[in-house]
């Protein structure tokens, strides 16, 4: 008779914990913004990273496909916002007119003078689905050639695709300027929801007025990102327990057996790539609109590895763990920046390890130490089927059997 009571207790503790977490998350910007908007900005970026980590978790954690080029989808989302919510298309058309007049004039005829003059300015409700769609398509296109590859080869090939995406974004400014090359695309429209601009109306000093309250722009973005994070967590949870989620686990643990049980491994793998990419694309479009500027240097391999480190540190395949990992690795370097640099100035009179170096050190060490000491991550799932650690040791078991 004790067990149901105990189970009820843990359940109650869980709900209380969750409620406390939600309350803290909701109150945070109001407490933090008096200390400076930079703190809320850090939280905004952390939320974007958490979205990315959750997306990568679908590919790496659920389906067991190690994707080292995940940042490419973030880049595609960000460049979607850059192309379709800024004057960029106008300069693309102008560049075509100058280089290939025939194509240029066709484009002007196709788009009309308005677009040729001011570019395309789609609203959020168009940008997000478009970013999701484009990233999803790229996910499938990049995933398709890698279907037959396993484990380590897949990692290197996806890494290559990530780099190719960045190389193209860096170089597609000649002979026809499409992406502006290394300079990137600027003047991206801020997000506007039901007529409310999250960057604040011009002249308001980036203050947003909502429901009689006024708050800094970063706070408004914070709440938008928080809502999106909650939605992505919800989708991830539902996916994990769905038929598709169980198919991913089966695929991860043993591809041959999964195929023998009637799972269409090709489609299921492609779906993992597409869904992970979709999340990345949405996060990317948010990033583009939030920054108002995108350039290829935000999408280097280091960022892909950073996201992988978040997933690995928190706990591959365990959603609360991944959120924890993302929150820790996105905010720790920033928090330490305000601690480590003053301490070094105090002790040595100069800064030996600056924040950027520290960030990289943390990522590197997180990957090494977690794999050596705690392969299931800081907060592993209590359900063994959600812990790919079993899969990590699978081959050893196979070998012993053979």
């Amino acid at each position: 008779m004790n067990r149901p009571v105990a189970a009820g207790n843990t359940r109650r503790i869980r709900i209380a914990g969750l409620a406390a977490l939600v309350a803290v998350a909701l109150i945070f910007p109001f407490v933090a913004s008096p200390f400076g908007n930079s703190w809320v900005r850090i939280a905004d970026m952390a939320l974007l990273y958490i979205m990315l980590a959750l997306g990568l978790n679908i590919v790496v954690g659920f389906a067991g496909l190690l994707d080292l080029g995940y940042i490419a989808f973030y880049a595609i989302g960000a460049y979607t916002a850059g192309m379709f919510a800024s004057p960029q298309v106008a300069s693309v058309i102008e560049s075509f007119v100058n280089t290939y007049p025939a194509i240029g004039h066709f484009l002007i005829w196709l788009c009309g003078p308005e677009i040729a003059q001011n570019g395309i300015h789609l609203s959020l409700w168009m940008i997000v689905p478009l970013a999701a769609l484009l990233a999803g398509i790229f996910g499938v296109v990049l995933g398709a050639p890698t279907l037959r590859l396993r484990g380590d080869y897949l990692a290197i090939v996806t890494l290559g695709f990530g780099e190719i995406t960045r190389i193209f974004m860096n170089n597609l400014n000649g002979p026809v300027n499409i992406t502006n090359g290394p300079q990137g695309i600027d003047r991206i429209d801020p997000i506007r929801i039901f007529g409310l601009s999250l960057a604040g109306e011009p002249g308001s000093g980036s203050t947003v007025h909502l429901l009689g309250m006024s708050m800094p722009s970063v706070n408004a973005y914070y709440f938008l990102f928080l809502a999106q994070c909650a939605l992505i967590i919800f989708i991830s949870l539902r996916l994990q327990n769905s038929r598709l989620g169980r198919a991913w686990v089966a695929l991860r643990e043993d591809e041959t057996a999964a195929g023998a049980m009637g799972i269409n491994t090709r489609n299921v793998k492609l779906l993992a790539f597409a869904m992970g990419a979709t999340f990345g694309g949405v996060a990317g479009s948010m990033f583009g609109a939030f920054q108002g500027f995108v350039s290829p240097e935000s999408f280097t391999l280091t960022e892909s590895i950073a996201i992988l480190a978040m997933v690995v540190l928190g706990g591959i395949g365990h959603i609360p763990g991944v959120v924890l990992g993302g929150a820790l690795l996105a905010t720790l370097p920033e928090l330490l920046r305000h601690v480590v640099e003053p301490i070094q100035l105090e002790l040595f009179g100069k800064v030996w390890i600056d924040a950027e170096v520290l960030r990289q050190l943390l990522y590197g060490l997180a990957l090494i130490l977690v794999m050596l000491a705690r392969p299931a991550g800081l907060w592993p799932s209590s359900r063994p089927e959600n812990r790919p650690q079993a899969a990590l040791n699978q081959e050893a078991a196979d070998e012993t059997r053979a």
Binding site: G64, L66, L68, P145, T146, R148, L149, R150, G151, D152, Y153, A155, I156, V157, L159, G160, F161, E163, I164, I167, N171, G174, P175, L301, T302, I305, L308, A309, V312, W352, I353, V357, Q360, L361, Y363, G364, L365, A366, L367, I368, M371, L372, P375, A391, L392, N393, Q394, E395, A396, E399
Partner: protein, 309 residues
């Protein structure tokens, strides 16, 4: 000037460096089935160690001839790289032997980031100029130009690969390595100390990477904490192209990839009507990698097809 011959010479120079690096990947893959992602960082450490050695030489014994300085730099960089790579194997990889491929691979990525950051802390984040130690005036060969540094590079790569072939084919250690690559457990039962073989593999790979790193810095007159990443990745593609696990495959794959890159970058402008330029040079290696993995995963000279891809 003969452009085709020039591109072939450039390709051979580039390819011989890829071959030296690819050998480190392929040997480690042969004995451990591990893609040693940190191998590119070892190459960078070789170049950086050479920079430091050259600075010390300039302070302690100024006025040495350039060739001698370069020789001392290479001889000094090799033990540094060997020490780092053996240490990495001992600390990071050994405990993960027996787990699946993903755990050591993730660790290797971490090691790579860690070593790069460490180098950034020691040598700074800006590119370091590498002194011109050999005469810079190029020699003309049949209408194409080749610098003395590049001639030395080709000679060194050839010598290193020939000695490696002798070690692998003729010595006790080489036989032990081949046995371990074939089947570690059986090799252990036959009295091979597999731990020592693995350490030796990492050491030899690091020595070759050190030579490649110093010559890379000498050829391009600069060193940088991130310089090893792209060559490392391309050398891995070269190893796959040649057939991973096979040392002659790595040599062939490296040279071929160098030629593909050099000729590709030289002619891509003509082929695409000027739409794509030589700034797309870096994508050839990835296209080769994906193509080989899709069409012939065992590479040109690889034999074991099953379960490799």
């Amino acid at each position: 000037m003969d452009i085709l011959l020039q591109q072939i010479i450039n390709g051979l120079v580039l390819g011989s460096m890829y071959a030296l690096i690819a050998l480190g990947y392929t040997m480690v893959y042969g004995v451990l089935d591990l893609i040693n992602f940190a191998h590119g960082a070892i190459l960078m450490i070789g170049a950086m160690a050479a920079v430091t050695i050259l600075r010390l030489l300039n302070e302690l014994a100024p006025g040495l001839p350039g060739g001698l300085q370069l020789g001392i730099a290479i001889v000094g960089a090799v033990p540094v790289c060997v020490a780092v790579n053996v240490l990495v194997e001992r600390v990071a990889y050994r405990r993960l032997r027996g787990s699946s491929r993903l755990a050591p691979l993730i660790t290797a990525i971490g090691v790579s980031i860690f070593l790069q950051t460490l180098a950034m802390m020691i040598w700074g984040r800006n590119p370091i100029p590498f002194p011109q130690l050999l005469p810079s005036a190029p020699v003309e060969v049949g209408g194409a130009l080749i610098t003395p540094t590049q001639i030395l590079l080709l000679a060194l790569a050839l010598a290193a690969m020939a000695s490696l072939a002798v070690v692998i084919e003729k010595t006790r250690l080489g036989r032990a390595m081949r046995a371990t690559a074939e089947n570690p457990r059986v090799a252990g039962l036959m009295g091979v100390s597999t731990d020592r073989v693995i350490v030796a593999t990492f050491a030899i790979g690091a020595a070759l990477a050190a030579i490649a790193g110093v010559m890379w810095a000498a050829n391009y007159s600069g060193a940088h904490f991130a310089m090893g990443f792209l060559p490392g990745l391309k050398a891995f593609s070269a190893a796959v192209l040649g057939g991973i696990g096979n040392i002659y495959g790595a040599m062939l794959g490296g040279i071929l990839l160098g030629l593909i890159e050099s000729l590709g970058a030289g002619y891509i402008g003509d082929v695409t009507g000027g739409f794509l330029g030589s700034n797309y040079q870096d994508i050839f290696a990835f296209i080769v990698l994906v193509g080989v993995l899709m069409l012939r995963p065992s590479g040109i000279m690889g034999e074991r097809v099953a379960d490799r891809a």
